[in-house]
Amino acid sequence: MIARTRSVAERPTKKLLVAAIAGAALFLLPLVGIVWRIPWGRMPDILSSPIVLDALRVSLVSSLAAAFLSVLLGVPLAWLLSRIEFRGRSVLRAIVTLPMVLPPVVGGAALLFAFGRRGIIGDTLESATGFVLPFSIWGVIVANTFVAMPFLVVTVEGALRSLDGRHESAAATLGADQFTVFRKVSLPMIAPSLRAGVVLAWARALGEFGATITFAGNLQGRTQTLPLAVFVALESDREAAVAISVILIAISFVVLVSLRDRWWSRS
């Protein structure tokens, strides 16, 4: 690699390298900061405490459910945005991607206004079915899906758009209906992007904090996810907060590294 960089012009490469190293340091140093503070002696006790085990369970259940819901609802949404021409499509696309830039706390408040007990449809939902989203695991899942699904929609829609239409037309010519074409031709062709979208959405859901605490509240064993447990611990037991952060980092890191090489490079 060094031999190759020498063969091109020396000065611009150095500039790029310095900037790249500075960029990497921005991500590396906070990580080192956390690892530096790991309370090694207390780690086994903290990690096996009921608070952490409960939070781990709530986090895994809600983030996996959110990833599943994102596929179930997000793939059809991506199909709609990429394949069907209709008025207001760009507006819909903007609305769908809004949670990516919206402060999650605002998202959580907006969810309360819609699905809260006095929200637009939350009220009707409660009187009709007795089902209440806030302060339940379902609330956590909805909050996670709200912030995570845009990542899947954007990824899948991009892939569908860049797909060459010839295979789809060929399948349609052979008599396949639109749903069959989508399922048997388009989806397999964009599989790497779909997987990447799922991983991104899941990772975003795992780290979700603001929308969850605003919409679903904070109760150990019911709605307290790992990020919420970190937040609470930061004010009472700093070492525990570091320990829980380390688990979050470890889970995300292992999944992102292993999946990136296996899936993303294949496309």
């Binding site: 809260g116 509240g217 904070n218 109760l219 609470v232 004010e235």
Partner: protein
């Protein structure tokens, strides 16, 4: 690229004033205060007449952690003596803390609620959606002490990190009931307060202290906090004498 760098420099330079009033003659007095003081402290500062006082509100425990982590502050006003004790033990304050005010708790329900809750025992009924402040936060510790004194085991649906977040969920009608400070209930048009006798047995004391390495402007402000003028402002907001 050069243009991008130039643009960046322009943005940074035009933000020269973003660093706060540090470049003025009078140094800024930075006051960290419990979030339950968010309504009343700006009035107190306005009456003090020094425009260079900077206020930072959060849960007392969060502020304690920030101060221990080296946040630059001159004065800390905590919603409980125990949080201040933690700072004193760490050698982070100079002089003795001064008791400024006291506060007690009330039950709040969404305005116009027909729930009918009339005491702490109502918090043990699981069909009610109720919230408390987190243990470790002064309003949470006081609530838990009140439940212990009343031998009630509350069936809690959410522990909020500070009293304002808790109040907001009652105001939105998401929680059927919660325990907040009387002053927070007074300041809200969206909740009704219920004050059973059993809540009067315990109260929290607000204490103010000068932090280690504080600006010299901290002394007169602390003295001012104990003045009759401040006492009156606090009374009007529903705080009690310590």
């Amino acid at each position: 690229m050069a243009r991008l760098v130039a643009l960046f420099s322009v943005v940074m330079l035009s933000c020269g004033a973003c660093g706060g009033g540090d470049d003025g003659d009078t140094p800024t007095l930075r006051v960290f205060a419990a979030s339950s003081l968010i309504e009343v402290l700006p009035d107190i500062v306005a009456a003090y007449g020094d425009s260079n006082v900077e206020l930072n509100f959060a849960g007392s425990s969060a502020l304690r952690e920030q101060i221990l982590d080296g946040a630059a502050a001159d004065i800390f006003i905590s919603a409980s003596t125990s949080v201040m004790d933690g700072l004193a033990a760490a050698g982070a304050i100079t002089g003795d803390p001064v008791a400024v005010a006291a506060n007690s708790m009330v039950i709040v329900v969404p305005r116009g609620s027909t729930d009918g809750i009339d005491g702490l025992a109502g918090f043990a009924e699981p069909q009610r959606t109720i919230g408390l402040c987190s243990p470790g936060v002064p309003c949470g510790d006081l609530a838990i002490a009140l439940f212990e004194a009343a031998s009630v085991d509350p069936s809690v649906d959410t522990y909020e990190q500070n009293v304002r977040a808790l109040l907001a969920k009652v105001e939105l009608g998401e929680l059927d009931a919660a325990l907040v400070y009387r002053t927070d209930a007074n300041g809200s048009d969206l909740v009704d307060a219920i004050e059973p006798e059993q809540l009067q047995s315990l109260r929290t004391i607000y204490v103010a202290a000068i932090l280690d390495g504080a600006d010299s402007g901290a002394d007169p402000f602390i003295s001012y906090l104990g003045s009759p003028a401040v006492r009156e402002i606090l009374n009007d907001a529903g705080f009690e004498a310590p």
